[in-house]
């Protein structure tokens, strides 16, 4: 165990370094080709550590567009990966993620509803948007669990099926609302909310995503051993001395908060929360004390690069980042399905 624990920490340190490099690279890759040193100069200048000799335009591209965008991508990737880890543990379902349980679609619907109500100033919006996304995620979760319970049990298969139904339904309602009310460029808005996009990233989205992570991550880390215990089954877990129901409920709400914040920042980006936990678990093992930090860092690195691809690959247009994560995520999802099936057969 000592060896695997050491290598798991090694992985987290490597991922942390990779994240720093990825953020720097993402901030320098783009239509306006900027060198790494220019990017660093601007960043250090804003941190008050240097005096950059760059144009106002360059400064704005780096500090107002690329840096917040890369940081939002990192925070959203981390948040979604952690949400996925928690969901998979709580439902004991390897195929669970926020998207499958309807949280993302609920959050999208909440966010779109607020946008279309046309709340006044930008500041009101920056509070109302994540709040509505959180409420939407929470209602979607309640609907999924309610349907699962009505259908018999909170068993893994029932929850995923109920979540799928809620998710599809809410996504359709979101599309409908946008088509009925928005004018002009509504197709792109639909895509941005349902497939996810980081085009709207700003320092506000960085703050929203970072605050959500700062609130939820400590709880998940503190309860890492409880998440481990869920693998034994509900009764055996509870017999270790904690309330399974309370733990599950609190963490479901925490994940709704996380997902709501992430969706308000970037729309419903799929597959990060499903695939990253599996990829990282293969390297760290299933002990959440090691899995959670590594998954957070891995999710951050993954989404920073996925977004960099999304905004450069079909230059000058921009792909929704959800397209990139799905193109990578779907084959990985199929692999997980096939492996799970093989295990259950043998």
């Amino acid at each position: 165990m000592a060896a695997s624990a050491r290598s798991a920490w090694g992985l987290s340190i490597a991922l942390a370094l990779a994240l720093i490099v990825s953020l720097a690279a993402a901030a320098s890759i783009g239509v306006a080709g900027l060198s790494l040193s220019t990017v660093w100069q601007v960043v250090l200048d804003h941190l008050g550590l240097a005096n950059a000799q760059v144009s106002t335009l360059t400064d704005a591209i780096v500090w107002e567009i690329r840096v917040p965008r890369a940081l939002t991508a990192a925070a959203v990737g981390a948040g979604l990966a952690v949400a996925g880890v928690v969901m998979q543990a709580l439902t004991r379902n390897p195929l669970a993620d926020p998207y499958l349980l309807g949280l993302s679609s609920g959050a999208s619907l909440g966010a779109v509803a607020v946008l279309l109500m046309g709340l006044g100033g930008a500041i009101a919006l920056s509070v109302a948007l994540p709040a509505a996304a959180f409420v939407g995620a929470l209602l979607a979760l309640a609907a999924s669990l309610g349907i699962a319970r009505a259908a018999g049990a909170i068993g893994p298969a029932t929850v995923v099926l109920a979540g799928l139904a809620v998710s599809q339904f809410l996504a359709a309602v979101t599309s409908l609302i946008i088509f009925l009310t928005a004018q002009g460029d509504s197709y792109r808005q639909v895509l941005a909310w349902l497939l996810g996009s980081l085009a709207g990233a700003s320092w506000t989205t960085v703050a929203v995503a970072a605050v959500a992570i700062a609130l939820v991550l400590p709880l998940v880390v503190a309860w890492a051993s409880r998440l481990d215990a869920f693998a034994l089954g509900d009764t055996a877990a509870q017999a270790l001395g904690f309330s399974v129901r309370t733990t599950r409920l609190v963490l479901f709400v925490a994940v709704s908060l996380l997902t709501g914040a992430m969706v308000s920042a970037s729309g419903a980006i799929g597959f990060v929360g499903l695939i990253l936990p599996h990829l990282v678990r293969g390297l760290t093992g299933g002990i959440h004390r090691r899995l959670v930090p590594a998954a957070a860092l891995g999710g951050a690195v993954f989404l920073v690069w996925a977004d960099t691809l999304a905004r450069t690959i079909v230059d000058p247009r921009e792909l929704p980042v959800g397209v990139v994560t799905a193109v990578i995520g779907v084959p990985a999802f199929i692999l997980v399905l096939v492996r799970a099936r093989r295990r259950s057969v043998s």
Binding site: A231, S243, G285
Partner: protein, 264 residues
């Protein structure tokens, strides 16, 4: 390790309007092995859950030694009572050491160091004679090995009462007997819900027969597992033989007594 006695005083459990356990009174002396038998739905698992405190009882009292379970925190119960689940087909991405380590959960508090943890895990693995498995992945273990690891996980809890819910399900015969023989010699109080009447007769000091939530009989194996009781509760005809070595009851199944049975 020594056991602590368990006593149920007129315990009833009602679940969604149905009485799944009805006025059960019984006593399990410290360090003895009680086998709980009964048809599916007789309330065996509910009885265990009531003792583990994972399911609150509707009325009556469950005593762990001198303490009323209803007044204890889950954590305090977990320091006395361990629960061993059925053999799990589930894949868990953990090593044997990591799974056994979960058993220390109720004991972890300020000052619980890495070396405390390592010692507790090593001790439990040794006690369960599973040291050789310590570094293996759970997913690669056989059914018998998994059960051995689950025992170690339960022992890491340093329990004085061990609850087993159909511990032999899905195991081959050798693993079934190895599991029961091992837990019956632990010296702590053991309460096991069992399907196989011969397992109850062979490994338990006392046998309790549950029927539709009520306690039908409790006593030494030969008293509790009479042909009449088995016929009434399980609906099967049996002949009770004596084992040639130790004279313990051996239950030979003769046939089904219901309407579709050939002896009906």
């Amino acid at each position: 390790m020594s056991g602590v006695g368990v006593r149920l005083d007129a315990v009833s459990v009602t679940r969604s309007g149905r009485r799944v356990l009805d006025d059960v009174t019984l006593e399990v002396p410290a360090g003895t092995v009680l086998g709980v038998v009964g048809p599916n739905g007789a309330g065996k698992s509910t009885l265990l859950a009531g003792i583990a405190g994972t399911l609150p009882v509707t009325s009556g009292t469950v005593w762990l030694g001198e303490r009323d379970v209803a007044t204890l925190r889950l954590r305090d119960i977990a320091r006395t009572v361990a629960w061993m689940e059925q053999h799990s087909e589930r894949d868990i991405a953990m090593t044997v050491e990591e799974i056994v380590g979960l058993g220390t959960f109720p004991h972890r508090e300020r000052g619980w160091s890495r070396s405390h943890q390592a010692d507790a895990v090593a001790g439990a693995l040794r006690a369960a004679r599973a040291e050789h498995l310590s570094r293996q992945a759970w997913s690669g273990l056989s059914g018998g090995e998994r059960q051995r690891v689950s025992i170690a996980r339960a022992l890491a809890q340093r329990p004085r009462v061990l609850l087993l819910d159909e511990p032999t399900n899905h195991l081959d015969v050798a693993a079934q007997l190895a599991t029961l023989e091992f837990v019956s010699k632990l010296g702590i109080t053991v309460i096991a819900a069992l399907h196989d009447l011969n397992h109850a007769a062979r490994y338990c000091d006392t046998v309790a027969v549950l029927d539709r939530g009520s306690l039908d009989r409790i006593g030494p194996q030969r008293e509790a597992l009479s042909s009449e009781t088995i016929a009434r509760v399980f609906g099967v005809a049996t002949s009770i033989l004596s084992h040639p070595d130790d004279g313990r009851a051996v239950i030979a199944l003769d046939g089904h007594l219901g309407e579709t049975g050939y002896r009906a």
